[in-house]
Amino acid sequence: MAGLTVAVQGPRTAPRRVRRPLLSLVPALVVGCYLLVAAVGPVLIHYDPVHTSLEDRLLAPGSRVSGGGTAWLGTDGLGRDLLAQIVYGARTAVLIGVSTVALSCLVGVLLGAVAGYFRGVADAVLARIFDVLLAFPAILLAIVIAGAFRRSVLLVVVALAATGWITFARVTRGIALSLRERPWVDAARVLGVPGRTVLARHVLPFTAGPVVALATLEFALVVLAEAGLSFLGIGLPASTVSWGQTIANGKEYLETQWWISTLPGIALSLLIVNVGILGDQLTARYGRGRSDRTG
């Protein structure tokens, strides 16, 4: 417990690769599998979310369907294969998760870096935007936005990114703020390196680690939030398969056809647990759990 920090001299260099136990690779592997499934699953398993096969309604896992195949994970109230829904749902989750995080990250990092590095008006404006946006609970703002406009994947992405970027901007701003005081930044300025170049070469690279760690945690939050919106029946069009919708579809059948809600629930939670652990690992390597602070 006597945790005196190692007297590491100066700032740390790019983190060295330390051999880590195999177990700690599991989260990355699991997340990788999901990404793989999201990418190639739809090629292997054909599924048309609109196609319904009413003879095959509510089949238990492993049943044979009328078309001759096997519904390994059962079917839902419309006779649609659950395995296929989980696979396609993974694609939606990954698509929305990645796009939302990418959008939030892009906006947040740019604004945060500019505000933190250049300070002044940009910083003051950003701070006020933070204040206003944070006055709304994130999920509520997402619901208002997603509920008010025409359903689409893009809408969900925008609704979730509307507050998602704040965390990135805060973290980046904080890093930029502390980096701008570093002598190597001063040295570059004394040399006459232009501001944009200083930002790009001497500030932004250092946000990469924490931002990646944050992006991972944020990804998990986004996937959960999307599932929540779908559960409330908001946001995604009916033609999009999503875990949240599948879970919501099955909630009335929980006592009799448990698999409809439970299996996508497990798929979702398994992903989130692993993304969470991965995020923790990255955070431990690159920076403190800042997302905790911003809620």
């Binding site: 417990m1 006597a2 945790g3 005196l4 190692v6 007297a7 060295r16 330390v18 051999r19």
Partner: protein, 345 residues
């Protein structure tokens, strides 16, 4: 500190062995501190250090950054970093602290051996008034509150804090650097220790403040007969306060002996180079012929004598055989194969 005050805490200290009349108050024998390094390796950051702290004496521990000074001091207090292993013997009045129970070691801390840390701001809890922090050790003795407060005021007064009754209610950030360091010293003195470990007590301070703090420490030592282990990288500080010095390099001892002798006539080429490198204030000196290379660290300590890559006297033997600390003259100990050849000795 009044003699009465001094008595109160001492007598309450339970199970303290009767001080041996003779011999050092603290004897460090073959102390080894190992810390976990990368890839599951272990680094000996303190490697076979032995020296004595005589009763009521000040021992200066000097060496460049990373030479293991802090680790040695922390080992004495029994508070090394997590994962550290300590071996050797730490004889406190003849009792081996390394072999003692945790409770016994805790009882020693603060009351028999106290420590002053380098950065006075970091060493103080920012959310507690300094009076409360100073009074913490007396409070352990279940003294009534008024008595504790009286003692805190007395301690602050003793270390030269003006208006002690008012200042004890201040928070650390409300005090200047010098006052903070005085508060930290008061905190260390609160348990009436017999040995004070001072880890770079003046490094963070300005010269004027530094001279006052050094003077204060000297006064207290003289008044209380306190022994002190003064850790510093600044030869000038040690040369002023220390009666004896121990010079460390890369976790090992190079040289030890009476301060004046060691600094005037070093018996180790490293000490000699250090002394040469210190620029004089009152006389203009040309920049000295510096030692080549960078100081070795315990993590990449050269085989043989750790100093040999930078040593002007180095020979084949130095590269192969780590020198032992030996008595090269009466009360002069050096870990150099060729101590007798050190220029200026």
């Amino acid at each position: 500190m009044t003699p009465a005050g001094a008595g109160t805490a001492r007598e309450n200290g339970a199970g303290k062995p009767a001080p041996a009349t003779d011999g050092p108050i603290l004897r460090i024998e073959d102390l080894v501190v190992e810390l976990p390094g990368p890839h599951g390796t272990r680094t000996r950051v303190v490697d076979g250090v032995s020296f004595d702290v005589p009763r009521a004496a000040t021992v200066g521990l000097i060496g460049e950054s990373g030479s293991g000074k802090t680790m040695t001091a922390q080992a004495v207090l029994g508070l090394p970093p997590e994962g550290a292993t300590l071996t050797g013997r730490l004889l406190w009045h003849g009792e081996d602290l390394l072999a003692a129970t945790p409770a016994r070691r805790r009882a020693v801390r603060g009351r028999e051996i106290a420590m002053i840390f380098q950065d006075p701001l970091a060493a103080l809890n920012p959310t507690q008034r300094i009076g409360r922090q100073i009074g913490e050790v007396p409070r352990r003795d279940r003294l009534p509150r008024a008595e504790v407060n009286r003692r805190v005021v007395e301690l602050l007064d003793r270390v030269g804090v003006p208006e002690p009754a008012r200042r004890m209610r201040a928070y650390p950030h409300e005090l200047s650097g010098g006052l903070r360091q005085r508060a930290v010293i008061a905190m260390a003195l609160a348990g009436n220790p017999a040995l004070l470990l001072a880890d770079e007590p003046t490094t963070a301070l300005d010269v004027t403040v530094q001279s006052r703090i050094l003077r204060l420490l000297a006064d207290i030592r003289a008044a209380d007969g306190l022994a002190m282990l003064l850790v510093s990288h600044d030869l000038r500080v040690v040369s002023h306060v220390g009666e004896r010095v121990v010079v460390m390099y890369a976790g090992r001892i190079c040289e030890r002996g009476p301060a004046r002798d060691v600094l005037r006539r070093p018996a180790h080429p490293y000490t000699a180079a250090l002394v040469r490198s210190v620029p004089a204030v009152r006389t203009r000196t040309a920049p000295a012929d510096p030692l080549p290379g960078a100081p070795a660290t315990p993590a990449n300590r050269p085989v043989g004598c750790a100093f040999h890559p930078r040593c002007p006297l180095a020979r084949a033997r130095c590269r192969a055989e780590p020198p032992k600390v030996r008595e090269v003259a009466p009360d002069r100990w050096s870990a150099c194969h060729f101590a007798e050849e050190v220029p200026g000795s």
